[in-house]
Amino acid sequence: MEIGLTTDMLQFLFMGIQRGAIYAMVAMGFNMIYNATGIINFAQGEFVVLGGLMMVSMTMALNLSLVFAFMVSVAFVTVVGILMERLTINPVRRPTVLRLIIITIAVSILLKGAAMCFWGKGSHYMRHFTDAPPLEIMGAYILPQTLWIIGMLALVVIGYVAFFNYTMTGKCMRACAINRDAARLAGINDRRMVMLSFALSAAIGAIAGIIITPIIQMDYARGALLGLKGFGAAVVGGLGNSMGAVVAGLLLGIIEAGSGGYISSHYMDAIALVIMLGVLFVRPGGLFGSSEMVRLKEF
């Protein structure tokens, strides 16, 4: 009995990490744009979907190698992100928050519609990255794809930290996020940084979509829920705090998987959202941030 419980728990832990890693990446995407612009990009979930669907076409239809297909997919979504910023965010002078929200919603509808037209309404199967059988750890099974997901998350986090702490461009982006005026006075082109934030955010979203597709079978309509849960992770971790987002994303994923296993799998999808609402209502600064800072900001 005892052993059975722990095996179950381990199984849910693996499942939770697998889900949570995706939330964490989506949340990092949100934070990237939020930090540079103060905008919450409602099309973030669509980046994930596009990444996944593109990967499906590249590998399953065109039979490209995994690595090449991966790069093409990420590049494609990155370009979509750049186009979105250049065509819909950059031209808006004196934007109101409401208008920006609706604009990003419009983009998400467009991307969703485009995805439906190209890839249809069905869900798309994709083979796992490696064809190995599941590994058994203390009676629990872990899919090789889950290891891929964990590894990819680790790579993204490392890349993220390295970019923002050790490259000039990364530092410039951080500077823009901290103090826009001071950054401009140091000669940093803030508009280019905004574009870059959309590009990077789209790229991270695409990676998340690519690695999850073999497990969930991507379809065009998944963006909204993925985006919402990713936003939940971003809020729980403290909006703008990317390391917080990683921790919160994993946490949410594990709680979700656990509650799916122990309470009810039907309501599993709602758990992360309920937690998100709870945190928003009680501690809008996130679990790891100070709520005072958030209230001082004007949204």
Binding site: I102, F231, A270
Partner: protein, 338 residues
């Protein structure tokens, strides 16, 4: 009510009366009935978004609450449809009150996401709580409404009934706008700080208007349930909430008339598109209803980028410039005569 609004009412009522004779086809009358449901929900949303300046991406949930309350109370408990509709409205208002108090302390993006999350939760519950809602199978055999002994069983009758509800809804909304309460809301939109300094309890007012707009949505949901006699979670997903915001934004946020214009136009859009599909085929484009969503997104984006005040404001401005042109032409002639 300003003179302009009274003219607007007259035009609306005239159009409502003429339309069935003009289209004369049950299918199109059905489309117009759906337009009326959207109108009703959008009027409420416009009070919240356009006047109080608070966004909600969760109004689909209140429509669902109204629809399910009507569907379940009539079929399971045998309540009269009218009582069920009132109960649904009260339930929606109660939930709006409970959710609104913490949610409306949030601003902008946070509020948008919180309401979107709320809508998503309600949708998930509607699918998952199979014991109560019937889950994906939905609720069947919802009775039709009767009014003064008349059963509203023909589309034409229901059409007049639904649009009467819209007119009543508009009437209430206009009274509210041109009152102390409405001024308070508009003041909150203008500047929350200044509104507070004028003695307006901004937090309470925001919740109140949220509750009122939830009631509009709930009634719209009930009317929908009584019309189609069958509900399932499908139409009440997050996308529907987003679509409502789209309608209000496309029509114009700053005026209730904008909500009416936006709701009607976007409700008719799929029909217009399928109508034009024939012509598109001639020039070699195979049109599919799937493209509708692209057109929605495109319209919304174009309006937000180039006409942020919305179509209604654009129409007014266009009308004014035409009028000015006419006046100039007339005056020009006078100058010539002199």
């Amino acid at each position: 009510m300003a003179a302009r609004d009274i003219i607007g009412f007259c035009i609306l009522i005239a159009l409502v009366l003429v339309m069935p004779h003009a289209v004369g086809n049950d299918y199109y009358i059905g489309v117009l009935i759906f337009a009326a449901f959207n109108c009703l929900a959008c009027i409420g949303l416009s009070l919240l978004m356009g006047y109080a300046g608070q966004i909600s991406l969760g109004h689909g949930a209140f429509i669902a609450i109204g629809a399910y309350a009507s569907g379940l109370l009539t079929t399971e408990l045998g309540w009269s449809p009218w009582t069920a509709m009132a109960a649904g409205a009260f339930a929606a208002m109660g939930i709006a009150f409970i959710v609104g108090i913490p949610a409306l302390r949030l601003k902008g993006h946070y509020l948008a996401m919180a309401t979107l999350g709320f809508a998503s939760i309600i949708h998930i519950v509607a699918v998952a709580a199979t014991d109560i809602t019937g889950g994906p199978a939905g609720v069947l055999n919802i009775p039709r409404l009767s009014l003064f002994g008349y059963r509203l069983d023909s589309d034409t009758r229901y059409y007049y009934f639904a649009w009467t509800a819209v007119v009543i809804g508009l009437y209430l909304a206009f009274n509210l706008i041109h009152s102390r309460v409405g001024r308070g809301l508009r003041a909150i939109h203008g500047s929350e700080d200044a509104a507070g300094a004028a003695g307006i309890n901004t937090a309470a007012y925001k919740v109140q208007v949220f509750v009122v707009s939830a009631a509009y949505a709930s009634v719209s949901g009930s009317l929908y349930a009584y019309y189609v006699n069958y509900i399932d979670p499908g139409p009440f997903d997050v996308m529907h909430s987003v679509l409502l915001v789209t309608m209000v934004a496309v029509g114009g946020l700053h005026h209730v008339w904008g909500a009416v214009v936006g709701a009607v136009l976007l409700s008719l859009l799929p029909e217009v598109l399928s109508f034009t599909a024939g012509y598109l085929q001639v020039i070699g484009i195979q049109y599919r209803p799937d493209y509708d969503i692209l057109v929605y997104g495109g319209i919304l984006l174009v309006i937000m980028l180039f006409l942020p005040e919305g179509l209604f404001a654009g129409m007014i401005a266009g009308g004014k410039s035409v009028w000015n042109l006419v006046k100039r032409v007339i005056r020009g002639k006078q100058v010539v005569r002199e």
